[in-house]
Amino acid sequence: MNTIDRHYQLIALLGSILAGFFLLSLFIGSNPIPVAQAVLDSMRDDPSVISLILTQVRLPRALIALVAGATLGVCGAAMQGLLRNPLASPGLIGSASGAAMGAVAVLYSGWSAAFWLALPAGGIAGSLLATLFVYLLAGRNGGTTTLILAGVAVNALAMSLISLMVNLAPSPYAVREMVLWMLGSIAHGSMADFWIMLPGTLLGWLMLVGTGRALDALTLGEETAITMGINLSRLRRRLFVATALAVGSAIAVTGAIGFVGLVVPHLLRPLVGHQPGKLLPASALGGAILLLAADIAVRLFPAGTEIKVGVLTSLVGAPFFLYLIVQSRRW
């Protein structure tokens, strides 16, 4: 009983931290603005410049960070649960770079103008393709090493295809955007960007709702989970499609922001008693917190520097990844 209470306490705590960071991100920008006045102004018919900064610059940026972070966190937790592997994450099993590849193909070819969801649709397709490829390469009972190797191979392939497409793109600006797709940035997001990422991510999240129970059962292995009444092939399909929808839509707007899906579930796992099901909502909140915090930190660098938010998450995440590898060798 009290373990359930403790879980709700954790969710409430993470929720309030998230709310705090969200508000903070509305207050921090390159120019100090009176936020309260901006809120009042935004309700008028004729918005002032400060209300414009609040509602058209800072708000979409915070919303994009929140949705993308939550997506990466929850999808990392879901993948780790499904593959029973603490190293599985959208970044490592190819979903993220695949999504970037799909988005790049759509954007630079000019198809993104075809219909308003074309860009996330490209991300979703790329993400699904890459994830399935890794899954087929590593097999469903593949060990950590096989999974990581397959992920490395698919990531490298996706990155080289991105590089190729960026170089061949008709737009002269494309060639300098490689880093953006590889590391991710949310600095210039508008409400329009937020709206195009929202349908896919929401659908992905909804599909993840209720899978916690099956992921808990998978703790005991695939065969035992089947005998516990889990339809494994349906679960696998559902998680792959959900991850592709959510990660594909988010990455198509932000670029492949690394390590959030790896670090967040790992940090929160002990706090939920290592239960994969309870880890899902906690990781969604944790991912949103981490990306918002990273985006706030990026803004604290002097104006004119263009540090991408993915640079920070990777700076934190890469050493963490090494630590996890060292840890996993002990098991």
Binding site: G29, R58, A113, P170
Partner: protein, 278 residues
């Protein structure tokens, strides 16, 4: 442009006789840079031009793309240049220094047309190329015409200077010491980027742009029909909002990829936009 061609044909007839007494002008001029290409196409007789750079044909970059049609193009590759057997090679301020050194060592005459960001520099480049191809009078004529048009613009432009700035893909803007700054000023605008302390081309974050509260935002995007994340930035709805739903005005990039008489076309476009605001 047609004007320059007509002048060129007209003056050619007069100067054929005058030229005889002077040193023989070069007859196989090769230009390896878009900026020298354009001045060469304006000032030289067609039979003097042996080759121009490939970019001169590209209408988004080259103001002289129509005139450039038909001339052999080069890619600034050494072997290619040697096979053209030039008696004068024109290079730009950003041309590869190692290539230029090599050409000079091989005994070729290489002249550099430096980059220009103000009217004096533009004038001096016109005079430089005019002298090199042996048609200084045509150069002076072009300069006079430029000055006349700029003067006409300043006469008709309103006395109130409205706030404007350039916002380029990737969030770049043109501060002081740029051709865009020069053109904005000549057209009667205040360049907010220069006032915000941007020197040369620098990035301007969206918040600072909005706070500067421009009346008009201009852009000059290269390759307008293509798409990229950088170009998507120009479609941020806040940009339209802040100028009271004044749409972004795109000034063709070829007006100022190089300093030259075509800058006046850009000044006219900017001045027209200024008049429409009133």
């Amino acid at each position: 442009m047609g004007g320059y061609r007509a002048y060129s044909v007209f003056l050619t007839c007069i100067l054929v006789y005058a030229g005889i007494s002077k040193a023989q002008p070069p007859s196989r001029v090769v230009s390896i840079n878009l900026c020298s290409d354009q001045l060469l196409l304006m000032l030289a007789r067609p039979r003097q031009i042996a080759s121009i750079s490939r970019l001169a044909l590209e209408p988004n970059s080259s103001y002289m793309s129509d005139a450039a049609a038909g001339f052999p193009v080069n890619d600034a590759k050494l072997e290619q240049l040697l096979s053209l057997d030039p008696d004068l090679i024109l290079a730009g301020g950003y041309s590869s220094p190692s290539l230029i050194r090599l050409l000079k060592r091989l005994g070729y005459r290489v002249e550099i047309v430096p980059s220009s960001v103000n009217l004096e520099q533009i004038h001096s480049n016109i005079r430089l190329v005019a002298r090199l191809v042996g048609d200084e009078d045509l150069g002076e004529t072009i300069i006079e015409e430029m000055n006349l048009r700029v003067h006409q613009i300043s006469v008709r432009s309103s006395s109130t200077r409205n706030r404007a700035l350039f916002y380029q893909p990737r969030g770049y803007t043109s501060g002081s010491g740029t051709l865009q700054d020069l053109a904005l000023t000549l057209a009667g605008w205040r360049n907010l980027s220069a006032e915000l302390g941007v020197n040369g081309y620098g990035s301007l974050d969206l918040e600072s742009l909005l706070i500067s509260n421009p009346d008009q935002i201009f852009t000059s995007a290269y390759a307008p029909e293509t798409d990229s994340v950088a170009q998507r930035q120009l479609r941020h709805p806040a940009l339209a909002w802040v100028t009271g739903n004044n749409p972004l005005i795109d000034i063709p990039y070829r007006y100022w990829i190089c300093g030259g008489p075509m800058l006046v076309d850009a000044v006219e476009a900017l001045a027209d936009a200024h008049q429409r605001l009133h």
